[in-house]
Amino acid sequence: MTTETRSAPESAAPPPPGQKAPVRPGDRIFSGVALAAALTILVTLAGVALFLFVRGYPGFTADEEEVGASGFIGLVLPLLFGTIWVSALALLFAAPVAIGIALYISHFAPRRVARTFGYVVDLLAAVPSVIFGFWGITVLAPYLVPGFVWLQENLGFIPLFAGPVANSGKVMLTTGLVLGVMILPIMTSVCREVFLQTPRLHEEAALALGATRWEMIRMAVLPYGRSGIISGAMLGLGRALGETLAVTIILSVVPGTITFNLLSSQNPSTIPANIALNFPEATGIGVAVLVATGLVLFVLTFFVNYLARLVAARGFSGAAG
């Protein structure tokens, strides 16, 4: 193992012209198949946009009596608002905790158990979304209701907590908390990766100057990991935007609502939850409208993921899943 080792694609490149290697049919076929597989990705993504557009096009132009709201825009805007609002809440809850866990695993936990702790956090990602929904409605929602009542009584003057509190606990705040738990693993793993990549020399230089561990983290780790933190947060946001069944099960919705109220039972739905709820029974133009909202969601998440990768483009590509 020498320092002359080159990266794979470079040294595995064909020999320079002049000493041409014989082109074997096996090589042609194999590289052709590999290229085709790689192009499948491109084709699939294009296909997603294309087929959603084809099936959803009648939905965009559907008029009032077909959609039930004031046209497609009137239908999709409250949904879009609900999607972004609940995801923003999830991000708000998850981001500080995720950064804390990532720091704990990368710099605080005893080294021998740190890796195991990382797996344990990843277990959260292994739990299917539908089960988070069951748990949220069965355990978390009833558990939180007394807290909601307290919030409404003491902070009710803030529009967020105006209430009236839904006794079922099927409110925006519960949903945001559950989604926050669900996006913890992805944010934690991205942050952890980038914190672990902090140059050791930066860390040791800080320590040698007499910094405490926290001061070292503030001076070396956090500035170095800033893009990773932002990118992890964006990826988490992307996941939250697309979460479906947890929202369908937990949130009690009234179509067409737009409200910041966190504690009432009258909430806007989200795009994916609305699709999951209505798709099985939808027919004709109803299907087209739902597919059209799906296209809006696709564009939104594509944009968010694109931004996340753009931020992370400092050569760092984390979070395979």
């Binding site: 990266s7 694609p9 590999a34 710099h107 069944l245 899943g321």
Partner: protein, 394 residues
């Protein structure tokens, strides 16, 4: 331990393996970005900062003792106000401990060290805070799902069942069929695409496809379901189409990028010397890949695929759209609705008949079985990865 008798051992650590540095190199990370592998604990105990404290250091045993004292005090206070609850006690303990460690630390060691201790306490709390929902969820699934975890659940279907009884045999078979089909599609495509990215890809096309794979990992699962529906509805001209293949395509869209990403990571770990040795012997490129590169990284590839399967096997939303649900077996993958375990759980939970308990119990049992399958797959994947791991950087 004083700084003098601890060698500053950057780069000379015994476990600093050169392979991992080469791996970092191969994955396009420059060494200074990648960092040197090794213990993340500070190699040198930081010198005590000058502060305003009385100049001592807290004994290492103090933290656990203080934590116990705070826990006892919290429980006592809550009982005194007859408001005891487990979470209340945990919350109060965390709060009092954080305050106490700051005060004690500030008095004895100075403010800067006290802040350090508070942060240590806070990040530990963050970790515990994340564990609470996980434990609560697992406990709920086990306690609620145990009731129907009987042989009938695995051997019977819902055909003719209106209330109690019944099982999920059809859903379990359906899940295996659909996930198996999805794996059949996405494993070859994923492996070949990863081979292209690592062994052949160059230039802007490689950059573009790497980027698109990243973006594709972030596709919401319901959008994948809508895509599969739209594809089949358009191609077959049947807007009400439901079939196993549609579900499998939806899952494959979600699974392929995960397979690509993990296989790619594994192929990058194969040392170039192996490829060069094979080329030098006159072995064609494709046989080098098939006979040298792939066998070398097979452990990691299998592990990555297992984890990718675990990721999609619990997907509910896309299957709800493409497969729907039914009460009995449907072995045909080309037409008709197919039940799958996650959709079965969702359906039982949402559409409760009489008595509702029977439906909720079945839903939780299905959830429990699903969690067990996913965790088993994850465990197998980790085990394979661990056993075949060429290098471990962290």
């Amino acid at each position: 331990m004083s700084p003098q008798d601890e060698p500053t051992s950057v780069g000379t650590r015994p476990d600093a393996r050169p392979e991992s540095v080469a791996a970092a190199d191969a994955s396009g990370l420059t060494p200074e970005r990648f960092g040197t592998p090794g213990p993340r604990e500070p190699a040198v105990e930081p010198d005590r900062p000058t502060g305003t404290g009385i100049g001592g250091r807290l004994p290492t045993q103090l933290s656990p003792v203080l934590l116990l004292v705070c826990a006892a005090a919290s429980v006592g206070i809550l009982f005194a106000f007859s408001a005891f609850s487990f979470t209340g006690a945990a919350f109060l303990t965390a709060l009092t401990y954080t305050v106490a460690i700051f005060v004690v630390g500030a008095v004895v060691e100075g403010r800067r060290r006290a802040v350090d201790r508070v942060v240590t306490s806070l990040v530990t709390i963050a970790f515990v805070l994340a564990m609470a929902p996980l434990l609560s969820l697992l406990w709920t699934a086990v306690s609620q799902g145990a009731a129907r975890l009987d042989p009938a659940f695995f051997t019977e279907t819902m055909a003719g069942v209106v209330g109690e009884g019944g099982g999920a045999a059809h859903a379990i078979v359906g899940t295996l069929q659909v996930t198996g089909l999805a794996a059949l599609v996405s494993i070859p495509v994923g492996i070949m695409a990863a081979i292209w990215l690592v062994e052949y890809g160059r230039g802007p096309l490689k950059t573009a496809i790497t980027f698109l794979v990243d973006v594709m990992t972030g596709i919401p699962s319901i959008v994948a379901g809508l895509f599969a529906f739209a594809l089949f509805a358009t191609v077959l001209g049947d807007p009400g189409h439901r079939s196993g293949w549609a579900g499998a395509i939806a899952l494959a869209v979600l699974m392929t990028p995960v397979v690509i990403r993990s296989v790619e990571e594994m192929l990058k770990l194969v040392p170039d010397e192996l490829r060069e040795a094979s080329f030098a012997l006159g072995v064609p490129r494709w046989r080098t890949i098939a006979k040298v590169v792939l066998p070398t990284s097979i452990g990691g590839i299998v592990a990555g695929i297992t984890i990718a399967i675990a990721r999609v096997i619990g997907e509910t939303a896309p299957l709800l759209i493409t497969l729907g649900f039914t009460v009995g077996f449907n072995f045909s993958m080309t037409e008709g609705r197919v039940s799958t375990l996650p959709v079965y759980a969702y359906d039982q939970f949402i559409r409760r008949g009489l008595p509702p308990e029977a439906f909720v119990e079945r839903a939780w049992t299905a959830a429990l079985v699903l969690i067990l399958i996913v965790m088993l797959l994850n465990g197998i994947g980790r085990l394979i990865a661990f056993m075949f791991a060429p290098t471990t950087n962290r």
